[in-house]
Symmetry: C2
Subunit: 204 residues, 2 copies
DNA sequence: CTCTTATTGTGATTTTTTTCACATAATACA
DNA sequence: TGTATTATGTGAAAAAAATCACAATAAGAG
């Protein structure tokens, strides 16, 4: 199986959302329809779909149910991905309530915090646990992914701690740039950058 | 001034975060340092910086304060951008508390909701206003940007409503693909896609 | 004051991504 | 049954992005 670029992953995920929410009534969909809704070239959409191994039907387009399932398979939406959230503040607790995660195999097991008033409480059915218990739990359950939603000043320190005990993927919602070993992947969810990119589109 | 691609915007924003939080002590920074922290090629970093009109110093690198300011200017961080949030739920209220927005010129004026129990309340010093008042306020204050944080089922309806009264940019945090006229820009903040891209990096 | 070295700035090249263009073929309908 | 139409699938071309390679040169060591 060939590697798949981040750009393709992003588009396929959007096609999936489109099939799940926007076009859920239809049984067929044409590449030109997807392209139109997402402001893409239709041949690009067809090439993306071809990567999922799905064949379309002349004059009809793609079978929605089949395409949706194939995207799920290609991107591994049903593989279970266990995650801890570190930082049970406003953003961390918003994320724990995000219903769609489970449809994509993202299973948030618990929240961690260092605020004694929060520890022991529940959010969205998940426990808020003391950060001290992180090492033990990371290694016992073999957690590789964390969502980082602590204040910027605590981000590096918490990262070092988590990396030390085996975390490999850090979904960084803080506006900091983290120092990590080459073996660790950081994905920076930088909302400021998103906003600026949106504004930039006025040039189109 | 030449157009600037979204990829460049994203990297420049990350350089800015790096200068603001990670390297705030230093007076000089080398392209190789930035490249190392963000896992990029150092010549790419220099080309990005050149776009901001900043000149570096042989054997020393770039002056941090100057580079930071030039990125701010290039990306228009100090231009005021007024925004309404529609959907005063968990995510909408988390965003209103996000302190960094104001440093980047993003000024969230108010939240809108259709839940009578929320209307009239405050969040982060901003009023939660009835959605019915949106048309009047959009046109009176001439708001062009909205942050969309309503449930998926309400997303298209709310979008149509906002677009009708003149909104031009929609920062879409819902997992739906919105139908809008060509004159309107939607930026899809799709967290599922981000997570999948992060996981994909294991192939590197 | 000279030499070594680290770092920039950028042209050339390569790689990746997107768009173009069109042959192919299934469908609907007269 | 035949024909017009509307999609797909994909090679070729173009455009965009990233990497490579290295001359230029300022700083700092000695
Ligand atoms: N609020 C947003 O919408 C938003 C948007 C984008 C980015 N961010 C970033 O996400 C992060 C979280 O934002 P927030 O609004 O949820 O902040 P918050 O202050 O509400 O939450 C931070 C949480 O982290 C906990 N914490 C602090 N230090 C800790 C430590 N050392 N170990 C463990 N937990 C610790 C705090 O007790 C608190 O519960 C921040 O870095 C913020 O800049 C927030
Ligand atoms: N919670 C997260 O972390 C998260 C992450 C990514 C995406 N999202 C998406 O963001 C959106 C908001 O998520 P949330 O967790 O804040 O949900 P929420 O249910 O907490 O908030 C939704 C808010 O929208 C309001 N609302 C409903 N219909 C409305 C309408 N027609 N007009 C105006 N307001 C209306 C509700 O009263 C509520 O206050 C959802 O689409 C969700 O899928 C959420």
């Amino acid at each position: 199986m060939t590697a798949i670029s981040n750009k393709v992953i992003n588009r396929l995920t959007l096609y999936h959302c489109l099939l799940k929410y926007t076009c859920k009534g239809n049984s067929f969909i044409a590449s030109s329809k997807i392209a139109d809704l997402l402001d893409l070239d239709d041949s690009l959409v067809r090439k993306d779909i071809a990567l999922c191994g799905v064949l379309g039907h002349k004059k009809q387009g793609y079978v929605v149910a089949e395409l949706k399932k194939s995207i799920e398979q290609k991107l591994g939406f049903s593989d279970r991905k266990e995650v801890f959230i570190i930082g049970a503040g406003r953003l961390g607790t918003a994320l724990i309530h995000y219903a769609d995660f489970k449809d994509y195999g993202i299973d948030i097991l618990a929240l961690f915090d260092n605020n004694p008033n929060k520890i022991g409480k529940e959010e969205g059915g998940k426990r808020i646990i003391s950060l001290e218990k992180l090492p033990n739990l990371i290694s016992r359950i073999n957690i590789k992914n964390i969502i980082l939603t602590v204040p910027p000043y605590a981000a590096q320190e918490v990262t070092d701690y988590a990396v030390k005990y085996g975390v490999r993927f850090i979904w960084n919602f803080t506006p900091t740039v983290l120092k990590v070993p080459k073996s660790v992947t950081v994905y920076n969810e930088n909302v400021i950058s998103s906003f600026m990119q949106m504004q930039n589109s006025k040039n189109k």
